[in-house]
């Protein structure tokens, strides 16, 4: 209850402060081409394809896991800065 109240105050404060910024519901067209519809249709067809060729989803699951790991490394680098034992992101 208390935790929820604190988090709600923070979140709602940010929501109010950012309320003047336009809300994005679709991607903007690029050179007149509706990239949003194209991507939605393309991903829909891809997911339809993976319904049949299901090992692709397993591979994507593994790839997503690795991406998450590397995102975690980037996050650590941002947080720790020069104290991070990493050299590859500097």
């Amino acid at each position: 209850m208390i935790t929820n109240a604190i988090l709600s105050i923070i979140v709602n404060t940010f929501t109010i402060l950012l309320s003047w910024i336009p809300q994005i519901s679709t991607l903007p067209p690029i050179a007149g081409y509706d990239i949003d519809t194209a991507l939605v249709t393309g991903m829909g067809q891809f997911y339809a394809f993976t319904n049949y060729v299901w090992p692709i989803r397993d591979v994507m699951l593994g790839a997503g896991f690795l991406w998450g790991f590397h995102l975690l490394l980037i996050f650590l680098k941002v947080i720790l800065g020069s104290r991070a034992p990493s050299k590859s992101f500097s």
Partner: protein
């Protein structure tokens, strides 16, 4: 009649000899039933069937007893099928007595059916025994008796029989009945939790028989909690307050008991355990589920840590805990609990705010701290939704959010079909195909292929090709991902490739070499 034949007819008789015997026996039942003052009949599927000369009683899986009398009171007194000796009533079973059918009045009553594990553990192949004074001679192991005007109905062992229960769920895994269900139990009184149903051969596969270790075998999980409080908004003078329940989210109590398999095929089960008494009155929701240990490649634990349970069947019902004390009703009224609380979440135990009240019977420090500082799943969902709608969808982050939504496949709920391709042959007269157009519909092709693949089913386990092979594919992918992470962080195996910097790798060694040679 098959059940009767199975357990009563001597096997050395031929069919032609059995038929008149059956007819004679049936005629005896009718005649003796009428003359003896009681006949009982029921048309539905018989699970248990007992008959006594001079009267016939049939007890069904729905707990119904049908009876009609001619000129005498009939009391039923159905007791427990007992096992392991001449000790009727030692185990749970049918419990009910004292209902009277007045003279010349047919009637129907319901006895509470309390299934017991022992009733399914052994086939009922023995006869009931009863004599004219209601005793049960050795080796009688199961008994039921019927009294008419306080006198035991005379009977003989061969006239009382019990049929093996038939499949409760038509061979598939299900929970056919649970208790307590739609009944009322008293406060602070321990009560039986029961579940009855069927385990299919497919779900019994790879699970050892006679195993009681719930981390390796099947188990029944009962979880119950208070969903509606009684008396809260009712006047203090209200005694029967079931008309004014209020929603309430109580903490869930979880009980678990092993579901023991006795063979490798489809089989019925009955599992029981005893719950401690409940002190708070109200309507409780009871969720019952059949669980099996979560298994990955046949392993139910990794490094000694159990992988948890996977639910294979579930049902839910409600029961009422009543007979509250005046103090409880007063406290409920005093606390003015007539406000809607969260509805019971079957998978989450959420403490109630009244656990913080400094009132004996309500205060619970751990629940109070939990409810004060731990957001509920609903609150967390609401926060995430607020962050998404109010912050993450604003420009410029909103473009990234939109991309993530699209790539996650949640941008639209409209299912997409695979595209079709149209091929037009070139205008070359020699081919004979010039000008023709062919359309290749990938969706149709995939549908045809997938239905063919779905036909490849292991005849023993009934598992599809995907169910069999996917765990191995996931294992290979998981090991590959771990090797890559290990390589990135430790620099091994190999000393090349990508360098995340966490550990000694080629780049670090090279820098050390440079540092040493600068000295």
């Amino acid at each position: 009649m098959d059940a009767l034949t199975k357990y009563t007819m001597p096997t050395f008789l031929s069919i032609s000899e059995k038929r008149p015997l059956k007819m004679a026996l049936g005629a005896c039942f009718v005649v003796l039933g009428v003359l003896g003052g009681g006949t009982f009949a029921h048309a539905s599927t018989v699970i248990y069937s007992e008959a006594v000369v001079g009267g016939v009683v049939l007890v069904y899986d729905d707990g119904l007893i049908d009876a009609s009398t001619t000129g005498a009171d009939i009391w039923y007194n159905v007791n427990t099928p007992a096992f392991g000796g001449n000790n009727p009533g030692a185990f749970g079973g049918y419990e009910g007595s004292g209902f009277a059918f007045p003279p010349n009045t047919p009637g129907t009553t319901t006895v509470q059916y309390v299934p017991d594990q022992s009733s399914i553990q052994y086939p009922f192949s023995t006869y009931f025994c009863i004599d004219s004074v209601g005793s049960y001679p050795t080796p009688c192991t199961n008994w039921v008796y019927l009294t008419i005007n306080g006198t035991y109905v005379p009977g003989q062992a061969s006239n009382v029989y019990l049929a093996q229960p038939t499949s409760l769920c038509n061979g598939s895994t299900c929970i056919s009945s649970v208790s307590p269900s739609n009944t009322e139990i008293a406060t602070s009184t321990s009560f039986d939790l029961n579940a009855m149903g069927t385990i299919s051969a497919k779900d019994a596969l790879n699970i050892d028989e006679f195993i009681t270790d719930m981390t390796k075998g099947l188990s029944i999980k009962w979880s119950y909690g208070l969903v509606d409080r009684l008396y809260a908004s009712c006047p203090l003078s209200t005694v029967v307050a079931t008309s004014c329940p209020i929603p309430f989210a109580g903490a869930l109590t979880v009980m678990r008991a092993p579901l023991v398999l006795y063979n490798t095929g489809t089989q019925d089960f009955t599992v029981s355990t005893t719950s401690p008494g409940l002190s708070e009155t109200g309507i409780y929701q009871l969720n019952v589920e059949i669980d099996k240990p979560t298994s990955i490649l046949g392993l139910t634990s990794v490094f000694g840590i159990n992988l948890g349970y996977t639910q294979i069947a579930a049902t839910s019902t409600t029961f009422t805990v009543a007979t509250s004390t005046a103090y409880q009703r007063y406290m409920a009224f005093l606390l003015d609990l007539n406000t809607s609380k969260n509805t019971l979440n079957a998978t989450t135990t959420q403490a109630a705010l009244d656990s913080c009240l400094p009132v004996p019977g309500f205060f619970n420090l751990s629940d109070c701290v939990t409810v004060l500082f731990t957001p509920t799943p609903g609150q967390i969902d609401g926060l995430i939704q607020t962050v998404h709608d109010g912050i993450l969808t604003r420009a410029p982050v909103g473009y990234v959010t939109r991309l993530v939504t699209i790539f996650a496949g949640t941008a639209t709920t409209t299912p997409q079909a695979l595209p079709s391709f149209t091929v037009q042959f070139a205008n070359v007269p020699q081919t004979g195909l010039q000008g023709l157009t062919y359309t290749i519909n990938m969706q149709d092709m995939m549908d045809a292929g997938s239905s063919t693949m779905a036909g490849f089913v292991d005849p023993i386990s009934g598992k599809s090709l995907r169910e069999i092979t996917e765990p191995y594919i996931l294992l290979i992918i998981a090991i590959s991902a771990l090797i890559i992470i290990f390589h990135d962080t430790m620099g091994i195996p190999g000393n090349g490739g990508r360098d995340s910097g966490y550990g000694r790798n080629s780049g670090e060694k090279y820098r050390e070499w440079l540092y040493e040679h600068k000295q």
